[in-house]
Symmetry: D3
Subunit: 295 residues, 6 copies
Amino acid sequence: MYYYDKRLQYPVRVEKPDPLFARQLQQAIGGIEGEIRVCLQYFFQAWGARGPSTKYRDVLLNTATEEIGHIEMLSTAVALNLEDAPATLQETSAQANPIVGAVMGGERPRHVVEGMLQRHLLSTGLAALPVNCDGVPFDCSHVYASGNLAGDMFCNVAAEATGRTLAVRLYNATHDKGMQDMLSFLIARDTMHQQQWLAVIEDLGGLKENLPVPNSFDQSKEAREFSYMFVGTERSGTPVQPGRYAEGPSVDGKGQFQFKAFEPLGEEPVLGPARPDSAAQKEQMAAPPVTNSKV
Amino acid sequence: MYYYDKRLQYPVRVEKPDPLFARQLQQAIGGIEGEIRVCLQYFFQAWGARGPSTKYRDVLLNTATEEIGHIEMLSTAVALNLEDAPATLQETSAQANPIVGAVMGGERPRHVVEGMLQRHLLSTGLAALPVNCDGVPFDCSHVYASGNLAGDMFCNVAAEATGRTLAVRLYNATHDKGMQDMLSFLIARDTMHQQQWLAVIEDLGGLKENLPVPNSFDQSKEAREFSYMFVGTERSGTPVQPGRYAEGPSVDGKGQFQFKAFEPLGEEPVLGPARPDSAAQKEQMAAPPVTNSKV
Amino acid sequence: MYYYDKRLQYPVRVEKPDPLFARQLQQAIGGIEGEIRVCLQYFFQAWGARGPSTKYRDVLLNTATEEIGHIEMLSTAVALNLEDAPATLQETSAQANPIVGAVMGGERPRHVVEGMLQRHLLSTGLAALPVNCDGVPFDCSHVYASGNLAGDMFCNVAAEATGRTLAVRLYNATHDKGMQDMLSFLIARDTMHQQQWLAVIEDLGGLKENLPVPNSFDQSKEAREFSYMFVGTERSGTPVQPGRYAEGPSVDGKGQFQFKAFEPLGEEPVLGPARPDSAAQKEQMAAPPVTNSKV
Amino acid sequence: MYYYDKRLQYPVRVEKPDPLFARQLQQAIGGIEGEIRVCLQYFFQAWGARGPSTKYRDVLLNTATEEIGHIEMLSTAVALNLEDAPATLQETSAQANPIVGAVMGGERPRHVVEGMLQRHLLSTGLAALPVNCDGVPFDCSHVYASGNLAGDMFCNVAAEATGRTLAVRLYNATHDKGMQDMLSFLIARDTMHQQQWLAVIEDLGGLKENLPVPNSFDQSKEAREFSYMFVGTERSGTPVQPGRYAEGPSVDGKGQFQFKAFEPLGEEPVLGPARPDSAAQKEQMAAPPVTNSKV
Amino acid sequence: MYYYDKRLQYPVRVEKPDPLFARQLQQAIGGIEGEIRVCLQYFFQAWGARGPSTKYRDVLLNTATEEIGHIEMLSTAVALNLEDAPATLQETSAQANPIVGAVMGGERPRHVVEGMLQRHLLSTGLAALPVNCDGVPFDCSHVYASGNLAGDMFCNVAAEATGRTLAVRLYNATHDKGMQDMLSFLIARDTMHQQQWLAVIEDLGGLKENLPVPNSFDQSKEAREFSYMFVGTERSGTPVQPGRYAEGPSVDGKGQFQFKAFEPLGEEPVLGPARPDSAAQKEQMAAPPVTNSKV
Amino acid sequence: MYYYDKRLQYPVRVEKPDPLFARQLQQAIGGIEGEIRVCLQYFFQAWGARGPSTKYRDVLLNTATEEIGHIEMLSTAVALNLEDAPATLQETSAQANPIVGAVMGGERPRHVVEGMLQRHLLSTGLAALPVNCDGVPFDCSHVYASGNLAGDMFCNVAAEATGRTLAVRLYNATHDKGMQDMLSFLIARDTMHQQQWLAVIEDLGGLKENLPVPNSFDQSKEAREFSYMFVGTERSGTPVQPGRYAEGPSVDGKGQFQFKAFEPLGEEPVLGPARPDSAAQKEQMAAPPVTNSKV
């Protein structure tokens, strides 16, 4: 069960409202690198956690719950950045409406509106909504919760790595001291979250112990001659440029990397003819001459 | 530019066609853990690769191109698994149509159809399509290509970890020798792909050098007192269970993990009143008593 | 079955074409508050209407059919607003192409294009399309037709309330007399539609008779001690601010509102361990110490 | 900021796990009538609330926070219902794997798997995910937060009306005592939530005061002759069947309902010819004979 | 403006309700080959039609309006096929509820429910909804209305070709005389619609006159040496199998088909280094050795 | 299996980078008229091809493989057009950062950013991504592969017709010589692709032989009196304007076009009452007076 405190996790101040920056902040709310995603991802991983103890469920719940507060902070920041946005396209309204008289350092209202997410004006009355910076709604297919703990941790590191990259880009895009302060906090939290998910892998025994994911599959069943082979698909057979990915011991310590310019091992596939009841064209219904790919 | 060879990368054989397994294989084609996703992800990372050499672009192109062949193998497997599927719901059709007379080891056609993806019958004429195992089309928002090389590598490891988890589940779900053979190859390739993307991080200098992602942001600008703090959000302040994520040196070697039962540092946010031209209710247009969260 | 009349339901005139306003109008076509949604929503409610008479089916068909005409009016308005839009980004084209010579009161073509929905230029040849003002296609999951008549009426009131809010915002955004005239008609129709769906609830016996929705469920089966309780989730137990929602008789007249700072009644959930065939990590496969949440 | 308690808001017990019921429960998690939707909807309404006091923000936060706990309860219920699900399609596995030996009261594993959401097996390792009962991911475009308080309340009543309708259908679909107990609680909460959002409208002054939504638009600007007219679109001009929606005073008390078999007031629209630079066919580029719909 | 007649365009009868066939019919409502798509496609083409006369707008409006009636027929057919569907999963309910006592010729309710679209039970109360046969909502991005009349006609032929293919598969799937009768009508209409859109191209001057689409682009500006070349991408340079597509005069009569095993004409692309403010890894920020693909 | 060559199929040069044109190019990558769509469409048609020979599979593979190279060319063009884009909204940054000092011919950075796809800045570090020009991700439901060869060919012609229309609009929008050169090649390829898919229909026996699609359905089963009838739905019964679509022999040579002002042949549909277990309102549960549409 969950509880709220009216106060924000960290202060959110905007010195000079900027509706274009409000649009950019939306990526951190409803973008694939954003906070709704990590919030729901950690929650669904927690609620489905199976294992010998509730330890990792607990770790996940602590951070999932923190993330709600991040969506709240960013949504507050969006609303504050929209406070002086013009509601009309026409020049004259700037004169008519003293509130928007000095919009955006003298810009004409039309130019300010052009850069806005139009739904900020038309759908929310100047507030945040769960979409990305180009207006695409967040879609929960991005909630990765595979039931494999190590796999999920890599998903979480990936999410926090792209999340921190986004936060840094937002930091670089603004000169507003209030916004930079808020982002300096969110960037720090993304630093920690990258660390803590990698630390869970250590807690589980470390990289070698946990790779390949899943570590519960008997590797004698996989076609091991291909398990550490860098497959070259350059048409002329040119080897890949030398690097750690194609030489030396594998990261899991269970094999040796090698390069191979690959040639097809299978045959040309031949499917059966179209069936009379399948609404194909008549021409498709004769049998093919040879069907060698099906035993 | 790209070229094809008519032959498959690895043999695809189906001993006993099973339309329900055809449905499950769709997850490996059009699911978020599937091959269309990694194929496009590696291509877009390659095509946007910026850096001092084309080295990593080349690595990515080799594997992206390999993945097209995996979609091809799986699509072939789906079509072969659908070859004896019934096209009608009625019992009598089994007698009338000798092709489907011995469907699925004596199952009534209706039961076989019930378990199928209906679009395999109605939209494709018994072939694969780019959707997941429950019929949801693949959506390219899942192509992660952030422009940050290390971040992208973590995205790739995550994709291959969930991909191998899926392939193992498919292997466990079938008893068909042909399908198990094909999956033993794909599982091996997922092993290698997990390895090679981690090896790229080694090639770039290793984990410590590359964390936190992005490593080009000056950490003195982030609020470092929060960069290695495990934030506790349990209502009663109970600490998280002990573990590597909350004690000892951080994984990047730049800090010490610590736990803190967090208390809000911000205030209750207060937004400005609704504007007369914003189509709010009249009651929302008076000013709030205090507006302390905006400087 | 359906018929058309070539004439519009109400005149559509544009005095000064504005491609940015064309973009904003798209929200009223393909937005979640728009006309495609209500049109299809009323049709699907009508086509699935079950009940003692065809009375409400008839009410719904009248209005659903009217709404097609509204999409038509708005699509016409979009096309007229796009008539003078520049097709090229370059300054020089304004000189070269007399048609776009005096674009938008002297704006440079590039600035006009910046504010446009790009697909108006690239995908439609300067006409409307079924997307919202930020380019997101309408998605029919927004067609609410629950099979419960009262529930559907509330969905319809909600749709018309957000629809009229949108129409008012569009009215406020433009100074074009033709567009304001068209919107004054659409706003009036949204007024009526809010009224008529509420009137259907009256026709069904009124609010008290129809609440809670569905009214066909035997309330003795619900956990009635929670049916009129305002559940407080403020961490410190602070009561919600006094208001009608937490005191006095309930709106359906069947209970008394009360506030309660809620404490969890359930236990910590404990799921079974991961199964050997489920591709989890090995560590997840041991049994948890206690499994108290499953009888 | 937010906090969690490890315990569930209300007990969740499953007597006889049923993977098909697990699938149906998904509608209450990730369906448009489900809990993720109301949770995010109330949060975004709260975070964007503008008005003279924080009163309604507070009301919304209490309930939004409660809803997280409902998603948690349902996700737990899904995982418990999946505990004995078969992971393989083959008959023999039932013998081989004692865990699934007595699956579903003697059903063959294949039949049990046929009814399942395939992603429960393949993507989650037997746990919930944020999709609906047919596997479609939740999409945040369903988060209605219009910035108009009364409009939002109608959206909330609509959400809770369809939500309770769904919960009743789930209650009717199962005979499991544990699941019925959990649903009796959720149904009760949906009762209250319908009540409390209607009570907020009372708190704002009641229906008449707040209609039409938005009440801040000067109705003298709308085309009032159409504001209370039931528009008939039956081809033969037959009036709608008599009812409250077409006779008597309007619900807002500001007009009288009347029926009118409507005739078009506009003209046939005529757009300008296609422009030479618009990639139309040549035939489309001549001017139309008359252009009477554009002033 | 639009009008309705209460009667269906063609009779809809169901002899033996079948909820699995109801699910399959959904593809013809909300599938990409379905009726919502063509209805909206023809409407948006009509509403955006630009040209010397309103002739083609009129053709499109006639058929768009007809298609509403097809969605209505199919939605009625879905509701009738759902009339005896079980609402519960348990065996005993069949005994308890006489309405569903003889469900589906003696099938156990559970098996009938397994094959259903779950939302037919949970979201609609046994009626149609605008989704496809696997539950995916229709998405208006499939409304093709390009502003090019000939291009649109090909889109329409394509839609009717896949539409008739679907209708034939539905006809083959059922033995219900009523459903076959309805489908025999819809199949006939799809025949006509294929014909009439091809006839519009004839009306515009025929294939040669209208190809390539758009015919308003000056072909001297295109790289004509590639305009009739069949590009071979087989790795070994093997020519495509002989056929009309690689030999003889082109279909538009403006060139001669020829085959060419293609070799790359461009160079390896080299992008600039990552910028310091772009949140890349440090390693990406050095300049590449050569940048030859940018002038 | 597939192979790559590092070189591009055709040179890609950008003379004057323009981030707004980068946005427009996205439509040719991830738009419904774009290259990802045709690439995947041809691949899935090839991989599912059933018929007497592998001839058409081979044709499709050649072109599908070519299309990968087109996505690559366009992605390269996007990245090159973004090279000088500003990363910040503020005026001062133009002075501070010499790289962006002369952005866009003197435009202020803010204006340049306003016209950009925000995700080009925030999600990719100045590179392409698989979305359209308004930021909507490509969705694989647009991959049409019906299993009917002639139907698929019409889908392919439609895709190339809208694709060439888009390419021409992009050509018209830019004055950059490099971009025009690249587009002149892509336009030529779209010319050929329109030709070759029509040539496949010729190869199959021509239009008359293949119409109506599918040609394997026995037309005696369709309601042939409606197979060549232009159905008029104009309310007053006014005939459609004369044209090839309503007079003369049908295109398939199997009938004569005729016009008919259509009157409904069916009755008003009447569904059964709502069931007690379906969570409808009580009022919906009485039986309707007459049920004449169900035999």
